[in-house]
């Protein structure tokens, strides 16, 4: 949860009169601006990280194109050709400027333009993630609310054990077990989701079932506990006690007082699920041979195709930061206390 109130009061205190008045009049606007500015700053730091990490070893790029058996002369030649002998700051500047213009360079491996390579992959990953999300959010809210209202009951215990067990099973293992049972043993679904090239995933729904199911099983275990925690906390709160003392019916207490407050953090849950999916889809795509961004990233990492790695990494990181900002802003809008407290 964003700590708007504390931060605001700390910085507002030290400002001269006019600015302080403006800030006090529009605390929300100030928060929005500040959150976007920190997000932009974060994006710059992330671009250093992405660029820097792939340049740790000198001559890395050239030797990854030419392979292990290249002569030092050949490596030096390719290094010069790619402009990799220039100062690192110049290289970074060129890279980030072309990135901002949408020019992602060419793949070391295939020579094709990176934007062409990752375009359809991005589309496929978004399809996969959205389908998973549409299932994950309502189901985890329903399970979380039911177990939260009957905390300590039999059903709560069942789901608590299920979550404890399932959280500890990696997605690639879940996916592999699903393939073993549903594809190999019972032939219900195809074992791999390899698509004809240039075909979007959405046109082959049967290939999407197992990857979506894998993500669903993986995320439910975690998310229903988040919702449950919010609901039990609300049910123990002062305002629920007050509502009960006022003689309101239990269903009214639950529906009018407890749940709306318990579900405000749902925005954060939504955001954390999307962020989890950004990482979770990587292994799942590899398991099913699904042609998405994650699989492309792992392929590029293993062949050290640096332009592809940089492009996909930047996109994933930017989406991650963007979702964080949007979720924080929506949460502040939903919870008046965070907005007005000075």
């Amino acid at each position: 949860m964003p700590a708007v109130a504390a931060e605001d009061s700390a910085t507002v205190g030290g400002r001269p009169g006019a600015v302080r008045r403006a800030v006090r009049a529009h605390p929300l606007a100030v928060y929005v601006v500040r959150r976007i500015v920190t997000g932009a700053g974060l994006a710059v730091v992330v671009s250093f990280l992405v660029f820097g990490a792939t340049q740790i070893l000198p001559g890395n790029a050239a030797s990854s194109i030419l392979g292990d058996k290249a002569t030092p002369q050949a490596v030096a030649l390719v290094t010069k050709e790619l402009g990799l002998d220039r100062p690192i700051a110049v290289q970074y500047k060129d890279w980030i400027v072309s990135f901002a213009h949408g020019d992602l360079g060419n793949s070391f491996g295939s020579g094709f333009s990176v934007s062409k390579l990752i375009g359809i992959r991005a589309q496929n990953t978004i399809t996969l993630a959205l389908l998973a999300l549409v299932l994950i959010i309502p189901v985890s809210i329903v399970i979380g609310v039911i177990t939260g209202l009957r905390a300590g009951g039999a059903l709560d215990h069942v789901f608590s054990v299920y979550s404890l067990v399932n959280i500890a099973i990696p997605e690639f293992v879940i996916g592999t077990l699903l393939i073993a049972v549903l594809a190999v043993r019972f032939h219900v679904f195809p074992a791999v989701s390899i698509l004809p090239p240039d075909d979007p995933a959405i046109s082959h729904p049967d290939l999407l079932v197992l990857p979506v199911l894998t993500l669903f099983i993986g995320a439910i275990a975690y998310n229903n506990r988040l919702v449950r925690a919010g609901v039990t906390e609300a049910m123990r709160s002062e305002y629920v006690k007050m509502a009960r003392l006022n003689g309101l019916s239990e269903s009214r207490v639950v529906w009018r007082h407890a749940l709306p407050n318990a579900l405000a953090p749902a925005v954060q849950i939504f955001a954390s699920t999307v962020q989890w999916l950004l990482g979770g889809t990587i292994a799942v795509e590899v398991v099913f041979g699904f042609p998405g961004l994650g699989q492309g990233l792992v392929e590029a990492v293993n062949t050290r195709d640096i332009p592809v790695v940089q492009a996909i990494a930047m996109y994933i990181a930017l989406v991650y930061i963007g979702i964080n900002i949007v979720a924080d802003l929506i949460t502040v809008l939903l919870i008046p206390k965070l907005r007005t407290a000075q």
């Binding site: 054990v161 592999t176 073993a180 190999v184 975690y222 506990r225 925690a229 790695v309």
Partner: protein, 298 residues
Amino acid sequence: MSASVSGRASGLLSRARPPLRAVRRELRSGEAAVGWIGLTAIVLLVIVGPAFAPAAPSDIVALPYATPGAGHLLGTDFIGRDVLSRVLNGGRSVVLLALAATVLAYLLGGTIGLVAGFVRGRTDGVLMRAVDVFLAFPHMLFILLLATGVGASWWVVVVGIGIIQSPQISRVFRAATLQLTGRGFVEAAVARGEATARILRREILPNIVTTFVADAGPRFTFSILTVAALNFLGVGLRPPAPDWAVMISENRPGLQVNVWGVIAPALLIAILAVSINLVGDAYARRRGISTDVDPAQP
């Protein structure tokens, strides 16, 4: 992070109790008992397993993907090596890499958290901003970038997991340290003019042991899962290492023929991680430390 340090006193006292009673208390919860049984079985398998392997993990004993039969109880893998022998040898890397990564994470995160919480002021501010930046970056991506830079190897996995876990740990340690710095015995040590490093080691650290142990279970589970995922993706240990995750990756094409090359290592990874989770959860629950999932956790 809602881990409280309310169980601190009981944590110190329990060390004086006879070990047998502590064990019995530990096993009273059904979940913890299941966890301990699973954990003991896997640890035994990892330690003594290699001695019982019928063949060397690299020996080719039959045709590829042979189904279970005499001489090879779990069949053979994609080039005809004995699956049972490889499974018995393949746990050591998972456990050791995860252990090393978790230790590194606590060394990094613990130090940052202790210093930030004790020194406070500007140092605290700078350290915690750095932590914020790291938390806003997708974890898996960081390790994949590292692997692109220096190539796939086991130490990329250890260093990468160590680094990505340290920000969360530093927050937990900082919170626990902050609660202690105002206490009498710490202020007395400060007044005596003791060195900061000594105060951290002698006064603060022993008093946050319970917080640390409750925190370590889920983190070790996370390390195991991430080590397995990275080895599976080909970023960590590479074939022909007899590693459970590597086995899953290389034997997948033969799932239809000999399912055990994939199922056996997959089940063992799952049992190991689930057992640690059950044990850790029971420990934290008994000491009244909230085990509610932390939204910021990956």
